[in-house]
Subunit: 438 residues, 2 copies
């Protein structure tokens, strides 16, 4: 590869002049091999934050980042489909939608992340299942994809190493909040992971990483553009994240709720969103020939119990104790389970997702660092959510804690998260809307 | 000092929100003690490049950078005056103006830099005098200021260490071209060096580091504001740098021309500019009570020969062979001195300063790195400059070289630098104009 002075790209980005594909590719190669210094990479990230990137440049950047390490070849597998959420509170849709899609005939070989900021991560949730391993080798990952049709693992060390370095620098340098940088980070990993169909769930609202709806819409459009420019079939759902999704927040509590949903009895918002995402995975991967057929196949996979069986098969293949999921009453539980009581009766009009996440964090349920994971057992289960009535003295929510002091500070925080006692609110949660590419 | 997360300042700068003095001071302290990483410092520098800084914030930043290391106390010395040029081609005014000011009664204790980019540096010029030392201790520097009234040395290791780190990062990360960052870098060193009066020569035009006149004007205004906000008396001259200043470019050749000017026979543009700058040093430091008196004292110091005597005293005090300056014919000379001949007769209408600098660089006369200095003997002396007539076959300029191959490539480059053969140009060089603070 030709080597250029990294300052050329930095200065062109700073000045908002158009960038070339080769210049971006060379810069990303320098980020990967260390030729680009931390200072240069950080200066460039800030230039992107301030000046933006064209959609074309974002697609080239993403392609170069995907090519910076191992790129999985899933071409021998049928109907490959991947799914990604930009992160929310109580978002356990991967554990529902992916088994549904796999049960309907998709091959779902998905690499997931850990918790980030106030949002949970699928890998932390899966690891709350005793025995379950997420650090699969590439060979093991591909074998399970072939044999089970469903695998969810942590990213292999060599997946998009340029993104790993840039991601760490973004957190360090106050350059996280940039639509093209977020899009390139997400999509580089999705491209490298090799699926032909990619379904994105882009959250907006107080509990999302990107709160303003307009910005989330830009992000969704750009990610669709990037995926399509790189030869993938992509759909993005713009979905609200102001209240938690479902009723459970906390790692093992969320696994339990996902299993309940696969049994047919989970919260309606989680069920509706999971079916919607799974149907698009089924459609875009070519299992179904029409949106309507995809909707039907998703529903059938869920209601027949085949989706639950697929999740159990995956858990078993990854060494997890599937028997706990078959009999949730046997699941381990936190030592203290206490209610938050309703003081003034009336309707619940708001449940602030970010404050709920803070309460779970106070309980010890959030990842503190790469090394220090969450307590898998703690968390919160809402007894009442938006649009439901609660009488004074009745429980609004249950706190699952392992420490009495943490329980009390979390209860106080949770009290501020839930607004109860008002008039009946106008309507329930909106599952979101599908977005076209940029 | 309170410690904050450096990301707070980075994000506030990125978002263009107003910054506080304490936040800037804490960030600069973190740059100095290493708490702020390279990535964070570089991201912040780029945020300043893209979003700017208020004049108030620039003054706080500069003050914090000045306070990051040793701050010289010159308060016991009379009429302290400092001078700084933003850099040009053939700019040897320090070697003329500072002796004039010192001879007129100022104490000139000046720290200078080495060559940067295509512009020369006073320290490289002084070191071309055999024996002369510029790496003085703080004690030695202050003693010479007291005893001789004139000292020009390199920066001590602990002068504005925050600037040292940021300066290196700016060069590395494409964040050099920012008015507030340039102003803070220059003025932090001037504030730390302790003089009560500071005279700035801000260059614009093709041979300047900041080429556009409007940007140089902003820089000049901001530097005056920063100095005054920090309790100094400051004047800034905005002067053109499209052709070289004087006729000589190259380290020892420039020393020789400075000495000739102090003898009364140098080029008129160098003489006029040096007198102008020296007069403002004399005025602002309180030696003279009016601009007219200052002009008169500067002229008297030059014409009486006392300015030359002051330069010789300084050279002697710093270990240099002053006898060479007393008898320029004894100065060492490059082995090859050859002309660039005029092909078409006519008037010289342009001498491109940057191309002349390139030709000198081709001869080996530029600093290549911190470690590899220039060949002190090589360079170019213009036989004809803008507004002078030249006949075909006559020399336009003389190349001083120590290598025949370098001589030929430099001659070719110099040929493109000089435009000769046109009509008589309208007017000569403009000494510039004085600028008020922001």
């Amino acid at each position: 590869m030709e080597t250029r002075d990294p300052r050329e790209l930095i200065e062109a980005t700073r000045d908002g002049t158009s960038l070339t594909e080769t210049a971006l590719r060379d810069f990303v190669a320098g980020v990967t091999d260390g030729r680009v210094t931390d200072g240069q990479a950080a200066a460039w990230l800030m230039a992107v934050c301030c000046r933006g990137l064209s959609d074309e440049a974002a697609a080239w950047l993403t392609s170069a980042m995907a090519a910076s390490g191992e790129q999985l070849d899933l071409s021998a597998l049928p109907h490959t489909a991947d799914k990604h959420s930009t992160g929310g509170v109580g978002d356990k849709t991967t554990l529902v939608a992916c088994p549904i899609a796999a049960a309907a005939g998709c091959t779902v070989a998905k690499m997931s992340g850990r918790g980030l900021g106030h949002t949970g991560g699928t890998i932390d949730k899966l690891e709350s299942i005793p025995g379950l391993r997420t650090d699969l080798s590439t060979d093991g990952f591909l074998r399970q994809a072939r044999e089970v049709g469903l695998v969810v693992a942590g990213q292999t060390a060599d997946l998009a190493p340029a993104d790993k370095r840039l991601y760490a620098l973004r957190n360090e340098t106050g350059t996280t909040e940039s639509v093209p940088l977020i899009a390139a980070s997400v999509m580089s990993k999705k491209l490298a992971a090799g699926a032909g169909a990619i379904v994105l769930d882009v959250k907006w609202g107080s509990g999302a990483l990107v709160a303003p709806r307009e910005e989330a819409l830009q992000l969704a459009r750009l990610m669709v553009h990037i995926g399509e420019a790189n030869g993938r079939r992509v759909a993005a759902l713009l979905s609200p994240m102001d209240r938690p999704l479902g009723r459970a927040v906390g790692n093992l509590l969320e696994v339990r709720e996902a299993v309940e949903t696969l049994r047919g009895s989970g919260p309606p918002d989680l069920r509706a969103l999971s079916l919607e995402l799974a149907a698009r995975m089924i459609e875009l991967s070519g299992v179904a020939r029409s949106p309507e057929e995809a909707d039907g196949r998703a529903l059938e996979a869920l209601e027949s119990g085949r989706a639950l069986a697929k999740l159990l098969a995956m858990v078993r293949a990854q060494g997890g104790d599937a028997s706990l999921l078959e009999d949730p009453a046997r699941m381990p539980c936190a030592t203290l389970v206490e209610p938050l009581l309703c003081t003034a009766g009336g309707w619940v009009t708001a449940v602030d997702a970010r404050r709920v996440a803070e309460a779970v964090e106070l309980l010890g349920g959030a990842r503190l660092s790469r090394e220090v994971g969450p307590d898998p057992l703690v968390g919160i289960v809402l007894e009442r959510t938006v649009g439901e009535e609660c009488r004074a003295g009745e429980p609004l929510a249950w706190l699952h804690a392992n420490d009495p002091a943490r329980l009390e500070t979390a209860r106080e925080c949770l009290g501020r998260a839930i607004t109860a006692g008002g008039e009946m609110p106008a309507k329930g949660a909106d599952p979101g809307e599908w977005v076209a590419g940029a």
